[in-house]
Amino acid sequence: MSAPSPPMFTPQAREVALSLGLVMGRTNLEVFADTLLMLAKQNRAVIAVTSDSRGSGKLGPFGQSLPEQIVEVGIAEQNLVGVAAGLASAGKIVFAVSPACFLSARSLEQVKNDICYSDMPVKLVAISSGVSYGALGSTHHSLHDVAALRAINNIDIVVPADNFEAQQAITLAAEHKRPIYLRFGKAAMYSLPSPATQGDRAGESAFAIGKARVLRDGHDLCFIANGETVIHALLAAEHLKQRSISARVISMHTIKPLDTAAILTAANDCRAIITVEEHMIHGGLGEACASLLLQAGLSPKFAIVGFPDEYTVTGAQADIFRHYGISMEGLGAVAAELLAR
């Protein structure tokens, strides 16, 4: 189903993106599919398990070129995760691929018991996450998944913010010894500034699961964001410069384990912290940061931007983001208000 696709940015925000020299890349989903195919060609133990999701997971070419390394279970997410656990127990490197809304809810007990409690290092690949399926309604939104999984022992959670992070996360996940949940959407991603994309080869090793990526320095305010919201925080930081506000931007791609040092440093350096996530405000990145800060005795001005506890408005992801203030303008307004408090 193809829904209308409104522009990601306002004309003003697009101007800011251009001024920063940001380049639109591919969707993280495409990066995932290509990376997985490459990994699977190198190692026959790599198996993709799908629940009628090979199309939505862009795994058509994978299925055609490596039919022996894909296991299709049909529309049966509970079975998807159980089968993935069984395959992993026999030494397979398993990527279980399904839309985030189903993978994290329909099969949550299998994730809890068969993967996490049984310590099977399955890679749960949650595609079309958040409100990627915005127009399809709440059945297809996953705004609960990070909260649900944060409350389960023995699983790491990674939400990459651009193609670089996605490629790195998927590659590292293959060797990861613990269960891991990779979450990404369907939008084309801008390449975010980092040593690696500025031609510094050494920077490529800068990505590590559990290590935040500082995209921009600043000392008045820090945006801590992840996934498809990070670009909006970055534009807001640039926009705020006009008001003489210096904003740091951190891509907190790993929510579990959290890079506590990066958050504490930000709280010591900056007067205010704003977290941004494509998730319910309960139980996600924002609350993880708030909990850390309070327990560390730090109390910067603090705001959580995400989805409120209400029936989520529907439409394209870009429309929904704007509705809830996940935009350059919306985040800029939150920042100005917070700093003036």
Partner: protein, 279 residues
């Protein structure tokens, strides 16, 4: 050294006593279901499964996944007998900090998977069996299910998938004791006819007396190379909950009933009489 049918029958009686002993000392456990499936585990571990403490790390070992995890006392007793750990360690069953908890956990040597929430084991078994096929290993996977457990829809997702992948290296065993915690399975959520249901899902179906060493042995033999169709197999093992102790047999309250001192002494004496009679 292979054991005779007679020796296995004696072993089942010994296992029954040990199940009662550990449940009595722990003051907790699933007595009825452990006694209904003990003959199945006996035949599997002593006659069928290529599983031992020595080969447990080998990818070629057979797999046993106990989906009806609450009958863990039966599994622990058999694993102790197979030498995975000393029987005395089971004195810590359900005690603070013990890894002998009320459902299977991989912290216990010999346990393949953490189970206990129902409706999980068959999917895990499907994954294990698919992996064996992909690797060209001849190892087999066995999954023990409860009949009440079959109300969990995930079993039927797995059943469909197993037939789709023609997993003739997978055997599901149903401990068909017809009782669950609330009462008769037919009154709680009727699942009959199980044979026709599994046949319709594309499985080879065998129905046996789940307390007969001979019938269980026969049902667990590998598929004949000359078979016409390649299918997963289900063994519907007709059993009696609480089997072996007259006052526990087919009585729902023994699902997780723990014997009093008098009941324990009486039950042990009764099994001793049976052992002597069969000698």
């Amino acid at each position: 050294m292979s054991l005779t049918d007679h020796q296995l029958r004696q072993k089942s009686l010994q296992y029954r006593k040990q199940v009662l002993e550990i449940i009595y000392h722990a003051g907790a456990g699933h007595t009825g279901g452990s006694l209904s499936c003990i003959d199945i585990l006996n035949v599997l571990y002593n006659r069928v499964l290529r599983v031992s403490p020595e080969n447990f790390g080998s990818p070629d070992r057979d797999r046993y996944i106990q989906s009806k995890g609450h009958s863990v006392e039966a599994l622990f007793v058999v694993l102790a007998d197979k030498g995975f750990f000393a029987f005395d360690e089971l004195k810590s069953l359900c005690r603070y900090g013990s890894h002998f908890v009320g459902h299977p956990t991989r912290k216990v040597p010999g346990v393949e998977f953490n189970t206990g929430a129902l409706g999980h084991g068959l999917s895990i078994g499907v994954g294990s069996a698919i992996a064996a096929k992909k690797d060209g290993r001849d190892c087999r996977t066995f999954v023990l299910l409860g009949d009440g457990e079959l109300a969990e829809g995930s079993n039927w997702e797995a059943a469909m998938c197993a037939a789709h992948y023609q997993l003739d290296n997978l055997t599901a065993i149903i401990d068909h004791n017809t009782l669950q915690i609330t009462g008769r399975t037919r009154d709680v959520c009727a699942n009959a006819p199980l044979d026709e249901k599994f046949a319709a899902f594309g499985w080879e179906v065998m129905t046996v007396d789940g307390h007969s060493i001979e019938q269980l042995t026969s049902a667990f033999q590998p598929a004949s190379p000359s078979r016409q169709t390649v299918r997963p197999r289900v063994v519907i093992a007709n059993t009696i909950k609480g089997r072996g102790v007259s006052f526990m047999e087919d009585v729902g309250k023994w699902h997780h009933g723990v014997p009093s001192k008098e009941e324990y002494v009486k039950a042990m004496a009764e099994i001793d009489v049976t052992m002597k009679a069969e000698r």
